[in-house]
Structure formats: structure tokens, C-alpha cells
Symmetry: C2
Subunit: 185 residues, 2 copies
């Protein structure tokens, strides 16, 4: 059985630059780029104004692209203390927008994404960008890095989601093949 194509929107959260990227594909098949971009908000603006601007742009993307699923980078407190609060707050806006529409939201850690895309959980930004460019057959690397990272998140999700789907399907098949308890055949 072939899995259906999945359209996934990835969000690399940030207040100054929030990367957005959408891809379509399924595990074991070619991936295609749907859209890529970045939302920027001025560092000197009010936090509330910045969050409202990020919400408006994510809402526009969700309206236009109608993804099946949203993948957001999981933020950790121990990283980049100076910006981590803003990153957590931008991620909250992305998660909220998706969940309000009933879309499934999955968080992936940076090392999960790197490992999925490059084979190494410690790959650098350039290596991730190179693989995103190659996997989507783009003419040049998406800029800024936040945009490439959002695409990497979406690709990671298509692949990991695919594996999870196949496991779930195999399990469902195995269970349906077994006669229900107490029923003689």
C-alpha cells in the first residue's frame, strides 16, 4: 500500500526571524517544495506587536497552503539563553494557530531534524541547507538559514511521520489478522 502524499508546514520559531516552509511528499518518494519564507519583526517593537505580526503571517500561510500537519522546532531552556524566551513565545504562537484549526502539531528537536536530513545529529547549518537544497532539487540554498531550517523540519516530519504511520498500519494489520478473543472461526 502506498502512503498518501502529506503536505507539511515547518516552523523554525523566532521573534526577529521566524522561518516558514512547506513541502509535500511521502517516505521513499520525491519531495516537492510548496513554499518557503521568513517572517521578520523589528527587535525594537513591543513583544505583543511582534507576536501579533507572527500570528497574522502564520494564519495567512495556513489559509493559503492548507497543510495536513505542522512541525515546529522544540525549544530547550538550556540553549541561547538570551533569545530562548522569544523563541519559546514565537513557537507558542505557531502551535496555537495550528491547534486552533485542529491540525496535528509535532515538535522535533534540532538534532532529530539534522539526523533525519543529513544522517548526523550534529551537522552544521550549511550541511542542513545543502541537503534541503538537494532533496527539494532547488537551484540555490534557501536564505536565510531559518527558512532552510523550516523546510528541514517539514522534510523530517514527512519522513518520521511516514515511519510512524507504517508502524501504526503494520500494527493495525497484525491485530485485524488475529481473530478477536472469544470468537470461534
Amino acid at each position: 500500500m502506498r502512503l498518501p502524499e502529506l503536505r507539511v508546514m515547518g516552523v523554525d520559531p523566532g521573534l526577529t526571524r521566524c522561518g516558514l516552509g512547506a513541502v509535500e511528499g511521502r517516505p521513499g518518494a520525491r519531495l516537492s517544495l510548496v513554499a518557503v519564507g521568513v517572517v521578520r519583526t523589528p527587535p525594537d517593537a513591543d513583544l505583543g506587536v511582534r507576536l501579533v505580526a507572527i500570528e497574522a503571517e502564520i494564519e495567512r500561510w495556513l489559509d493559503e497552503l492548507r497543510p495536513d500537519s505542522v512541525a515546529v522546532e522544540r525549544v530547550f531552556a538550556q540553549h541561547n539563553t538570551r533569545t530562548v524566551m522569544g523563541t519559546a513565545q514565537a513557537s507558542a504562537v505557531a502551535i496555537l494557530c495550528a491547534a486552533r484549526r485542529g491540525l496535528p502539531v509535532t515538535l522535533h528537536t534540532p538534532s532529530e531534524v539534522k539526523a533525519a536530513i543529513t544522517g548526523s545529529g550534529t551537522a552544521d547549518k550549511k550541511q542542513v541547507g545543502t541537503m534541503v537544497t538537494r532533496l527539494l532539487r532547488l537551484e540555490s540554498m534557501p536564505k536565510p538559514a531559518d527558512a532552510a531550517d523550516a523546510l528541514a523540519l517539514a522534510i523530517c516530519h514527512v519522513w518520521r511521520g511516514g515511519v510512524q504511520n507504517r508502524l501504526a498500519e503494520a500494527l493495525a494489520k497484525a491485530q485485524s489478522a488475529r481473530p478477536p478473543r472469544g470468537v470461534r472461526q
Copy 2:
């Protein structure tokens, strides 16, 4: 000139318990309680579902209470690493809800709030609760502590906002009293 009464909603952000409290008052006058409560979301629920529930409850409060201003606790990365991401994400929802309506949002640090309410920036939760109870002339201390903290934030904002307003007014007065440059009187 007497400052007008200000209705302030305070938010002590959290995913498991998000404290909400609204007070009315002006600096140097009696404060009054408008509402107090807490939004709880189950720790085992999806992050998206939790953020949507918090948003819905904050929206309901804003609709019903129509505050002039919202005060939210400022979250720092170095505190309570285990829960700080959730706190930052809940605070983003509160800030977003207020900013979307064009309400002014102010962040106050925990020590600013403690200093405003008790006179000491290192006061404990019980001391803050005791002062909130006394200042609002309540019969018993608001429970849980998150609800009392939300009221403390709102009180702090009425008082600090008042001081800021008076400074702004004094400045405006001094400037209007001075003849404009280049005009002879």
C-alpha cells in the same frame, strides 16, 4: 488632578495553572477586586490543546471584564528550567490576546511585584498573599498561589502605572507652562 480609575488584569502564566486576577484602582486610593481565578490544563494533554484552552479562557475574561491594561509576569530563562518553556509559552498566549485587542501589555518581574506589594523584592509567596488579601480587603487569601500572584501583578501595575502616569503628566505640564521657542509673550 485625580487620576482616573484603572482596571488592570494580571496574568501569572503557566500551563498547568495560569493565574488570572483583575483589580480596579488608582495610586493612593483604595483598590477593589474585580475577579480572580485560575485556568488549569491537564499536564498529559497536547501542548496545542493546552494553549488553545488558555487562550479561550483569557479571551472570555477580556470580553467580560474589559480591562484598560494587562500585566503579565516577565519570565526568565534561568529560573525553573523544567517548566520555564511552558511558562514562556503561556505568557505568549496572554500577551497575544491582549495585543490583538490593542490593549497595553506590561511585563513586571517577580521581584518588582514583590517589592511593590510587600516592600521587599525577596518576599515569599505567603507574604505576597497576605498583602494581596489585606490590600483588597478580602476575607481569606486567594487560592491557589497563582491566583494571588495574578492579583499582585495587577496591583503592582496600578501603582507603577500610576507613578509613570504622574511623571508623564508632570513633564507635560512643565512643558506646556514653558512658552514655545521663538514666541514672545
